[in-house]
Amino acid sequence: MTASDSSVAAVMAGPAGHRGWRARLAAWRVPLSVLILCLLPWVLPSQALAVNVLIYGLVAVGYNLLFGYTGLLSFGHAAFFGTGAYVTGIMIGKFGLPWYAAVALGVIAGSALAFVIGLLSIRTRGIYFSMVTLALSQLVYYVALQASSLTGGENGLRGFTVAKIDLFGWTVDFLDPLKKYYVLMVFAAAALWLVSRILNSPFGAVIEAIRENETRARACGYDVERSKLIAFTLSGLICALAGTLSALHLAIVPLDILHYQTSGMIVMMTLLGGAGSFFGPFVGALAFLLMEDVVSLWTSHWQIVVGSVFILFVLFLPKGIWGTALAWRAGR
C-alpha cells in the first residue's frame, strides 16, 4: 500500500532540512490536526457539514488504522460505526441513561463486535477477508432491520434527542451547532491522540511490518494473528466512537448506517485522502463530503462525478490527496 509518514520520517536520513521537516510534522500531528479541526466550522459552508466531516473523518481515521497501516481491506466497518450509534441512541432513548454513559456503552459495544468479527475474519486471507467482513456486517444490518422494536427497523431510531449537555457543571446548549461541534471535537481530538500514540508505539511498527510483508513479520517472531486482531478491535473502537458522535449529532440513527454502501463510502474516503497517512482520512472525508455537497448543487447526478473521481484516484493517485501531497513535498 502506501507508506505512512512516520516510517518515511524514520527512513529519511537525508539532508537535515528534509528529515527535520517530516519528523517535526509527525511529532506535531495531533495538535496541528486539532487546530485545523477547530477552524473547520468557520471555513466550511455550513456547521452541519463541519460536524459530518468531523464524524466521518474520525471513522476514516479508525478505518485507516486497519486498512492503511495494517493493510487489511475490510468491507464491513459500517457495522462498528452503526453499532456505536445504535447502542448510544437506545441507551438514551429506551433506558434513559445519561449521554456520557450511553457514549461509553456505545464504544464498548462497537469494540466488542469488532473483536468478534475480527476473531472470525482474521482466519481468512486476501480477498476472502474482504468478503467475510462484508457478509458479517450485512448480517448485522439484517439483524438491526428485524429487531425493529428495539432499533426502529428501516424507520430508523429516534426519540433520543439530547438538547442539553452537562459538562462538569457547565450546561451546554447542544442544539446550538457551534457548541455541539466543539463538544464533539473534544472526543475526536482524544481519539486522534489515541491513534497517534498507537502508531508511535512498537505495536504501530509491528502492524506496518505486517502490511509490508506478513511472512517476514511472522519470521521475525511477531504474533501476526494477535496483532491483526488487536488492530481490528482498535479500529472498530474508533469507528464506534464516531458512531456515538453521529447519534448525538443527528438525534437519529438511520438504518443505512449499517449497510455495505456505508462501508464502501468509508473506504472511498480513506483512499481519497490517503490511506496510510495520519491526516489523510480527514482530508478524504472533507473532500468526499464537500464534493458531494457542491456537486449536488449543480446536478442530482453527483454520484457519477464522485465515482469518476474515485476511479481516477485509484488509477493515478493511489496515495490519495494528502498522501500524494506529502510524497510530492518530500520528493522535492
Partner: protein, 290 residues
Amino acid sequence: MDAELIAMQLFSGVALGAILIMVALGLSIIFGMLGVVNFAHGALFMIGAYAGLWVASLTGSFWWGLLIAPIAIGAFGMLIERFLIRPLYKRSIDDPLLLTFGLGYVLVEAVRIVFGSDGIPFQTPPELAGVADLGIGFFPIYRLFVVAVVAVILVLLWLGLEKTKFGLIVRAGAKDPQIMRVLGVDISKVWLLVFGLGIGLTALGGVLAAPMRNVNPEMGSLVLAEAFVVTVIGGMGSLVGAVVAGLLVGVAISMTALFAPEMATIVMFALMALVLLVRPHGLFGKPVRG
C-alpha cells in the same frame, strides 16, 4: 403443505437459480482467471438489461436484443479490462476491487442520466408469454425458456472449455499464468477475452431477466449481493461451483419462502459467512493461496 406445492416450490427454486448462475458464472470466471473481484458486476447486469431493451425497441424484436446485447456489453467489458483494470495488476490485489466499486456507481448513474430513474416497461415476447400447466402447477413459459437458455449456455461453455484450444489455454492459465507466458501465450489477450466473456454472461443474464422484472437502474444491486453469495459458496473461480451453488441458493431461497420468507436474505448472507469461515474456498474452489 402438500407434495405438489413442495415440488412446485423446488422447481421455482431451480428456475430462480438459473439467473443466479448466469451472473455468478461471470463473476467466478473473472475471479478465477484474473483474481479480480468485480464490484461492478451488478451494474453490468443492469446495463445488459437496458442494452437488450434498447436493441429490442430499435429492431422490434426481443431476439435481436438477446443476441446483440451480451456481445456488445461483453465488448464493453473488454474495454474496461484493457484500460481500467490492466494497469492495476502490478499493484495490490485490492485495487481492482476498489476500482470496480467506483465503476459501479458511475455506470448506474450514467444509466440514470441516459434513460432516467424510472423503470422502463419490457414486455415478455409474445411467443413466450403465457403459462404452462406442468402438472404440479402453473409456470410462466418465459421462465422455462430462461432455464433452457441457461442450460444451453452451460453446455456451450463446457464444450468450449474442454474441447477447444482456447479453452485449454484458459484452464491452464487459471492454474499457472507464468508457465503460459513462458510457453509464448499472450496471456493478456486471454485475460481480455475472459473478462469480456464474464461480462457478456452477466449481460445475458440481464437481458433474460428484463422481461421478468422491472428494468430500472437499481436492479443490479441485489443481484450483485446474490452473485457474491453464490460465488463464495460455490468457490470463487470454479464453474462447477457456480452452477451447483446457484441451484443450491435458488432452492434454499425458495424453500425459505415456504416457511419464513422474510428471512430469505438473512439466510443467504449467513450461508455466505458460514462458508467463508469454515471453508473459504467454497464447495469446489481451489484452496486459498496466500
